[in-house]
Symmetry: D2
Subunit: 360 residues, 4 copies
């Protein structure tokens, strides 16, 4: 079943494996007249590159996106944008020794069972490399949000046991600072403690999980559709399609379940403005005009250096550990920050276009 597309009007379809000829995305439904070029896209891609510091996997060749179609004289034409990123630096040989092992916490077992085949080189289609396509598409979606005056951002909220202190409404203004921080965290003080905990995990050959906070300001009231296309439902789906994501919430999230109605309800001022924003910017699936905010939880990286008991594909006892020289992030949440931001952009861009058909 076709399962590599996302969105209703602003619709993306991604393709590609970690070690094939390349990866890419087709964006169908982008309105004509949007100014966009390859630099806009590559600037976003740079945010999720590896090897910037010891907290992401060693440096690979920089990704370089090319726009193959849909742009003419610097503007979108209404035709689909095809963005292609050729693969480089794909040494498949190091995957040979582990190709017959079931990898704990990894999708090779389920792919094998489902399809009867698995492209084990770099994780094939299950590789997080696919998220580069989301970032490329997100760059176009962000241009559309710019056009409508919407600002968005994401930041590390926690890594391991350390929580940042974030003001969700301020995040979009802190975007530049966030991406200058080694952990993409808007709270540098907490960031220091996170780095210490990460160093400890790295030394143990282990990995950590984390939580990402996202927010958007400037979204007008009325965006999102009842009943099954609620804004928060599409955000939840978007975020849970991310590799390693295990939970998603909006506004107060799980904490809302511990509050009383009188405490959680956001009251209206005389001008119909909301006095608080526990709801996280939506009521009944439709935006309120307030800051849209939510959180995404990521499990710790499954590929670790510590040896783990497993079986091979023929059901014999085996042990799995990352081969020497393998590249894996000690915490996938860090590089997921620009990806979460991109998914937020994609959901909002789509919902804004969908909303054009609501009224006569």
């Amino acid at each position: 079943m076709a399962s590599n597309s996302f969105g209703q009007i602003f619709r993306i379809t991604t393709w590609g494996e970690s070690h094939g000829k390349g990866i890419g995305v087709v964006i169908d439904g982008c309105p004509a007249g949007l100014v966009i070029n390859e630099d806009d896209i590559n600037a976003e891609l740079d945010l999720r590159v590896t090897g910037k510091n010891r907290f992401t996997s060693p440096r690979k060749e920089k990704d370089h996106a090319q726009i193959y179609s849909g742009v003419f004289e610097g503007k979108t034409t209404g035709a689909p944008l095809s963005i292609v990123i050729h693969n480089h630096d794909a040494d498949s040989s190091k995957y040979e020794p582990i190709k017959n092992l079931l990898r704990p916490g990894h999708a090779n077992y389920t792919y094998l069972e489902k399809y009867g085949v698995f492209d084990y080189r770099g994780g094939g289609r299950s590789s997080a490399r696919e998220t580069a396509c989301r970032v490329a598409a997100g760059a176009v979606a962000k241009k559309l949000l710019d056009h409508f005056g919407i600002e968005i951002a994401a930041s590390i909220q926690s890594i391991g046991s350390i929580d940042a202190s974030l003001n969700v409404e301020k995040l979009p203004k802190l975007k530049q600072a966030i991406y200058q921080h080694p952990l993409y965290c808007a709270d540098p003080a907490a960031g220091e403690r996170m780095m210490a905990e990460l160093d400890s995990a790295i030394n143990d050959g282990d990995s950590l999980g984390g939580i990402i906070q996202f927010s958007a300001i400037g979204v007008p009231v009325g965006v999102g559709d009842p009943v099954y296309e609620k804004l928060e439902a599409n955000l939840a789906k978007a975020m849970m399609t991310l590799p390693a994501s295990k939970g998603v919430s909006i506004g107060e999230g799980f904490s809302a379940s511990r509050m009383q109605g009188s405490e959680h309800n956001d009251l209206f001022a005389e001008d119909k403005a909301l006095l608080t924003n526990h709801a996280g910017g939506t009521l009944g699936g439709i935006s309120t005009g307030e800051c849209i905010s939510g959180q995404v939880a990521f499990k710790p990286t499954s590929s670790i250096k510590k040896a783990q008991a497993t079986a091979n594909i023929t059901g014999e006892k085996a042990s799995f550990s990352l081969p020497e020289g393998s590249r894996h992030d000690p915490c996938v949440a860090i590089r997921a920050v620009p990806v979460v931001e991109s998914m937020l952009a994609l959901v909002l861009a789509d919902a804004l276009l969908v909303n054009r058909a609501a009224k006569l």
Copy 2:
């Protein structure tokens, strides 16, 4: 934009307002040959009726679903099933005094802004009454799961500050006990403390939130599709379309973000069975064959008796409180238990059918 449908192959479309002629659901894509009758559906609807005890709103006329199409001689025919529930007991007059008030935590503000009109009687389309249609459709989906040997359940996990102690893999076997408990909770001891906390909130004219745990056993390995139709992504979307839901998670959920990779990874035994199930039954969006489990967080009921400051639709200062005799649950999570279970059934039924096209 069409936004009242859910599912790809097993696809539901719901319609209806709280105080209109009725509500209903069309199920399109149900395979032919499934044995189903109105009693099957009405037995499920009885689980979400009100007025069973002091923890749900006072008794309404029981819902009665009629199958208008798609069943012939007791079996589905491949044609769409249309299920209609006529409305009774709909006294709209009590909504007259509050029809011009923006209700804190309620969708009437966003509907008004989006559509320029709001059917205020009983909440119109934004009413949780729509979830009866999900339960009716869920009853059909559960028949399909039965056919495939899959058992599912849901239970209250927490209300207010009280947490139950649940064994997710056992929940499906406890289904009968759960629905006999006043709070639909599989842990009666915790249930006692929840009732005390609920009574206190009721006395204060206030409300509580809660968390629901869901689980499914017997789902074969291989169900769910990468990349944008991951099983957990569709579960997340399904749950976040529920009124008052604010968060959703799979397996260890947000707690996974506090674990280390060596701790979270589920190891494979020699026979490829998984030794633990922190993942919650999926890897890379595809079922592992283990118990599928997750949680949904609900905010406290927004409609409370306590007076709250607000504005009316013309922007004048006002106060809102539920009119005397109005009916609202002190905790929406309780009656949401069979609804969460139904959404789980709908997602799984659809994914099982979708999976038929994966291999040659």
Copy 3:
């Protein structure tokens, strides 16, 4: 697979069998603010009722549509409209004797093979009765076209060997006259000859086919989407979903294949207006602003009084003829006129809403 829906934004889902409790349609995606009531819908349904004269099957109880949802104080609310038509006059007993016969030209064979079950009463889901739901939905779509200043019509173009002489651009203005004609034909002179040919077929216990011409004026330039959502492609699909339709064309249709480029090309005048309209109102799948016109071919009614050789469902030799008192039209094209008009309305309404997302 869900296959009972049509349209992208303005999306209908129909349900129901000929002899079940009723039939109906859910319209999802209709913009809020459209003025509509049950009389508007029932007036359209009256156009396809039987028994008006000897050229349609004997009179049944008039269809009466009820709006179950989606309208509040006379206007659409953005919520789905559910329209229900209860079945009356459904005497299934006369279908008992033929329930095990494969009916020549009828779908009972293919339904049985596909689903393993067939609701033989009145043709079940394969009954042309389903088209009443299209007309009901079409009534709403036409209100939307009214709002945008678009006028549409359909007329019998041919029955048997007799062709009408029609001016497609004038058809919308002749709508009233068309529906007063016994054959729904805008050319009364040709109509006389058609009636003679029909009477002859009726006397022979046989049936005739026919062609319907449709047209729309006032559609602005720019409606319809390349590549796979071309306006003519969606019209073609819409028309070929009609029972008994065997062909569809746009503009000059099949005759265009006999013309030379210099003859078929429509030239532009100085003001960019087109001097001719061989194209039928679209270029590259997008409307030109000219009259949109096309034709749909219908085979002769398959259910006839003449005995025909066949087999029963267990493969034994048999003979099929309509039971005495059975009701079937001698030419299905006649009552298909308002249905074709409705499909035209549905395609245009959807395309108009879709077009809102084309430009920034």
Copy 4:
């Protein structure tokens, strides 16, 4: 709105302009395990190359498709196939002089009005070059049909006033002969007369239209879905998305409207086999197991050498004729033969996969 995709389960998305970096197609939903390589695809692409003889436009660089993803060790993996064809031989300069002219019979007018921009180089997205992507995807679909024992073909049925005499059930066996004929026509005698008529049109600087016949044998009974996903409806849509197509029909097509019921009905033999096949292989939208056949009408090529009156984009009087050295086919139907065949393959492959969910 996303409009560059086709199919439900076996779903293609095409992208690219005539003179951009390239064109391509993403195939999502192809089952895992299908044997396919680039040669399979390029062999099909060779069928629609230009320049083979005087009846197609002068030779361009041969198209060369590359599989970028979705195939591992020679088999599909269940991941999307991305097929890229880089553009060569794209001399845009000759389009400079005509870039501001409205081209009679061409889509540049409607694109300009719809999007406010038109990539005039080679026709941009409206170029028939997009159909190469359909052929590439069709090559994969044909592999799937092979797997299920289905054979398909297409042939020129008419060019200008000349009709071929074809046996639709034999066409798949004549495939090799068809593609060796200069006009892709299975009737060489008629082909001679067609070539004479074409030569005459070429001498006049004019163009001709044509009709293509298609057929498929081996499709099992039960494929296709009522009501809005009828096999013939999806075929009609598929064919009417082709550039220059103006009509489509199934079985007897428009001729069926001239027949009597007793004549058109296909009778069943004792073994339930059909004695004739006027229906063209479907009843009620579902395949009967007989040969599926239909026709597609193409208008004459709009771009001709003869001067035609027109306007420029600012509304001034102008004249349009193809610049010297421009390349255009005198009859687009010829090279459309493999494209029609590909669309047939795509519709059938999708319907076969969809059909897997019909029964328990």
